[in-house]
Amino acid sequence: LSYQPPAAGPGPSAYGAPPQTYLVWSILNLIFCCLPFGIVALVFSVQAQSAITAGHWDNAVDLGNKAKGWNIAATVCGAVAVLGVLIIFGLAASHGAVNQQQNNFGP
């Protein structure tokens, strides 16, 4: 394999700290929102991390912003889904479905 010089663009020297990859947020979305958006966000976070490793920090900024956008979408969708479930349960409970649940109490 021959050596490939890094593409032109601002590298580590042009910024102080490495750009954000939002990897932790992506992982949290994947666990707790369990939506396809979480996977997409994780892929962009991983790409951003890889770009930082490769020295392409300008690419990493773009990829990190995409990860951020998908993470916002995943968190909003997750929050809406959770609220929806809570509201549906509240409606069901107000219609007397609560009596069924009493039989399922664990030890």
Partner: protein, 153 residues
């Protein structure tokens, strides 16, 4: 009480936006989450939100079982925490490691340059294995006849 409130507010104000404040805030959130998880029982509290993917498709997603794992862990039942979602404990350990290293760097600046105080995120080069692990787990736990600890039942 007013003086105490004022002092608490002053402390909160001086920590706002600092690394120490963030590290302490995350610790507080983790403690509250652990207490809440200890008070909950997914087998009793049917109002707890379910995974929308599982509700719609009947299939297990890579995150399915996280709530039960968290509650089992908060009750000291590590075996159950592992069984409900195999990836939950390793992921939690990784996130706690990130926080612990951040807390050490924030509160003990003299140790910030030690190799073990570096963020594990800085050790990741091209973490495609994360995507591979998640997708592989997603597929494997939906294969009929998968081992019990890979399912979420």
């Amino acid at each position: 009480v007013t003086a105490l409130t004022t002092r608490t507010r002053a402390l909160a104000g001086s920590l706002r936006g600092t690394d120490r404040g963030r590290a302490g805030g995350i610790a507080a959130v983790l403690v509250v989450a652990a207490v809440v998880a200890h008070l909950l029982n997914p087998y009793r509290d049917h109002w707890l939100p379910k995974c929308p993917f599982h509700e719609l498709t009947g299939l297990w997603c890579p995150g399915c079982g996280s709530t039960r794992s968290a509650c089992a862990l908060a009750h000291g039942d590590v075996a159950s925490a592992f069984r409900h979602n195999v990836l939950f404990l390793p992921t939690l350990a990784f996130l706690v490691w990130i926080w612990a290293a951040y807390a050490v760097r924030s509160f003990v600046p003299s140790l910030a340059d030690r190799p073990w105080a570096r963020s594990p995120l800085a050790l990741l080069r091209r973490p495609w294995w994360m995507v591979a692990v998640v997708v592989a787990f997603w597929v494997v736990r939906n294969v009929p006849g998968a081992p019990e600890h890979l399912l979420s039942s």
